[in-house]
C-alpha cells in the first residue's frame, strides 16, 4: 500500500514543477520572437498600414491630398499587409487543425 502512495506523490510534484517551468517558459518564448510575437507584429503593421491608408483616403475626399501616389501606395501597402496577415492566419489555423486531427 505504501508503494502506490509514494508513487503518486512524485507524480504530483513533477506536474507542479512542470507547470511552473511552462509558466516561466512562455515569456521566454515571446522574447525569442516566437510565432505569437510574429503574428502580433504583423497585426501591428497591418493596423498602421490601414490607418495611413484611411488618413489619406480622408484627405483625398476632402481635397487635402498632396500626392496622388501617396494614397495609391498606402492603399496598395494596406492591401498587401492584409493579404499577408490573412495568409499567416490561414496557415496557423491549418497547423492547429492538423494537430487536432492527430490520432492519440
Amino acid at each position: 500500500m505504501t508503494s502506490p502512495l509514494s508513487g503518486i506523490l512524485p507524480v504530483g510534484i513533477g506536474a507542479i514543477t512542470g507547470v511552473a517551468g511552462a509558466q516561466t517558459g512562455v515569456p521566454q518564448a515571446q522574447n525569442a520572437d516566437g510565432f505569437a510575437s510574429v503574428l502580433a507584429s504583423s497585426f501591428d503593421q497591418l493596423q498602421s498600414a490601414q490607418k495611413t491608408s484611411d488618413t489619406l483616403a480622408t484627405q483625398a475626399a476632402t481635397g487635402d491630398l498632396k500626392d496622388v501616389h501617396d494614397y495609391m501606395i498606402a492603399s496598395n501597402e494596406a492591401s498587401l499587409a492584409t493579404e499577408m496577415v490573412v495568409t499567416i492566419k490561414n496557415k496557423a489555423v491549418e497547423a492547429f487543425n492538423e494537430i487536432m486531427r492527430m490520432p492519440v
Binding site: 504583423s42 501616389h69 501606395i73 496598395n76 501597402e77 498587401l80
Partner: protein
C-alpha cells in the same frame, strides 16, 4: 514598414520627381512674367535631390533644398509696356524653354520609372504571398 520597404523607397522617388515637375511647371508658367528693371526678374526654381540614407539603411531620396536661379533676367526693349523704365526696357526671366522641356521629360520619365518599381514590387510581394495559399 519593414516588410514592404520597396514601396516606401519608391514613394520617396515619386515625391522628389513630383516636386521637380512642380518646379518646372512654375518656371514655364512664369516664363513670360515681366518685371520692371529696378526689381529682380522671376528666379528660376531648381530642386536639389539628396539620398536619404548615407549608411542608415533607410534608403530613398528627398528634396534637400529648393534653389533659386539668378534674378538678373533679360533686358528686353518694350517701350509700350506699362512697366517699362525711362529707356523703354523691362525684365524677362532668364529661363530657357528648351531646358525646361528637357527637365520635364526627365522628371516625367523618372516618375514613371518609380511607378514601374512600385508595380513590379507589388507583383513580387503578391507572388510571394501566393506561396502561402497552396
Amino acid at each position: 514598414m519593414a516588410v514592404f520597404d520597396t514601396l516606401g523607397i519608391s514613394a520617396s522617388g515619386l515625391m522628389v520627381n513630383r516636386k521637380w515637375m512642380d518646379a518646372v511647371s512654375d518656371n514655364i508658367s512664369n516664363i513670360n512674367t515681366v518685371n520692371p528693371t529696378n526689381q529682380d526678374a522671376f528666379r528660376e526654381r531648381f530642386i536639389n535631390a539628396q539620398a536619404v540614407d548615407y549608411g542608415s539603411g533607410t534608403g530613398g531620396v528627398r528634396v534637400a533644398t529648393a534653389e533659386f536661379g539668378s534674378g538678373e533676367g533679360r533686358m528686353v526693349y518694350e517701350p509700350d509696356h506699362p512697366l517699362a523704365d525711362k529707356d523703354g526696357y523691362v525684365k524677362y526671366p532668364d529661363i530657357d524653354l528648351g531646358d525646361q522641356m528637357t527637365s520635364l521629360l526627365m522628371a516625367q520619365r523618372a516618375y514613371q520609372a518609380n511607378l514601374a518599381v512600385v508595380e513590379r514590387a507589388t507583383n513580387a510581394y503578391q507572388a510571394a504571398l501566393r506561396l502561402g495559399k497552396g
